[in-house]
Symmetry: C2
Subunit: 211 residues, 2 copies
Amino acid sequence: MSTKSPESRRGGAGLRPKTGEAGEPKLAVDRIRKTARELFYREGIRAVGVDEIVSKAGVTKPSLYRSFSSKDELAAAYLRDYEGEFWTRFERAAAAHPGDPKAQIVEYLRGLGERAQRSDYRGCGLSNAALEYPARDHPARLVAEEHKHRLRVRLTEMAKDMGAAKPEVLADALFLLIEGIFVTGQLFGDGGPAMHAVEIAETMIEASRAR
Amino acid sequence: MSTKSPESRRGGAGLRPKTGEAGEPKLAVDRIRKTARELFYREGIRAVGVDEIVSKAGVTKPSLYRSFSSKDELAAAYLRDYEGEFWTRFERAAAAHPGDPKAQIVEYLRGLGERAQRSDYRGCGLSNAALEYPARDHPARLVAEEHKHRLRVRLTEMAKDMGAAKPEVLADALFLLIEGIFVTGQLFGDGGPAMHAVEIAETMIEASRAR
DNA sequence: GCCTATATACGTACCGGTCCGTAACGAGTC
DNA sequence: GACTCGTTACGGACCGGTACGTATATAGGC
């Protein structure tokens, strides 16, 4: 029937935009992804209509639905992009302190604590999406849940490498700390609890080593 | 113009429903508040339409708008109700351990950690609302922000009473821990990071006393 | 060189449905 | 006769989604 492959209708991830990373992408699908990323993150997914996305992106609605089968799938694609950005930030912090997991997580929290106090900070796009869509089988929620499980696993590995007496407990402490920063960042802005992120993490890590 | 006082159009808080606490309230305004509380909390504010609220409450739309000037004001009223429930839970835990702030917060976290692992848990209605409405002047957001400031102040008082070396840091640690539980509760459910809430809090409190 | 066939990328115009909110009026009740 | 509520019917905006037509580029045949 259709001339489209199922692949392209999923808006396959990771493929480079056809135009220089900065500036406006040329292809409609890339302009949509970029605009969706900005609007969904800033205002929330439910708060943004597809009309607003296409008009701000300078494209038309059929172009959106040629690349994404529904708004929900576009939201899922946005979250996959967002997760990529998250891991980029996370691994960049880790790479700054090779072989020193405590310094790695502290470095990440230092950057996060800073960002979380900025006025344009809206928390974690993945956490926010999960809160917006409580239904277990929503495409956006699935992406978010998988990501959070991956992060918890990663933190557990790091806690082990830190020599924690109970790695799972330290990992969850760090996880809860991070999620707390995500939320309070947009609640308090500058001078909020995020300002003490590093100090709290260091205290927690040291106390977890004691035995 | 209107026969209504501004007071009643705001859906004045705290007034007892005219019928026994349990079961269906008799007055339309109370049925609306109860239904709104359930639906807004379970599915989110944006996700629930006023038509759904009035039909589930067994009332009609004009009855809603006779008591609340808009859906946003109904959302704000829901959050004021929700905040009341929060402080009831919080003070109940505190009352169980008079004069022992550490035991008080641990008691609260014990209960929260349990609730957060239940399948119907949807986090904190106030935090969720703030995430749904990033606009600074939204009625619902205002209620949420005020509450969060109150809670931070309360935790700082308790941290002082615990003899923490840096009460503000311990208070923020507890705050971030609590917000983290709110979020991860609905992300992971049973067996999530909330399961370690008490242990983490105790470790953090003890480490904050040391000096 | 010229014509045609096909594929790609996109736009115009429109769909039915749902959103929040209101107008006008009548009925029960203490 | 003041209060509370239901009934019916709208309205205008916006929602996610689609049927259908068009411009441009390239490839192949002769």
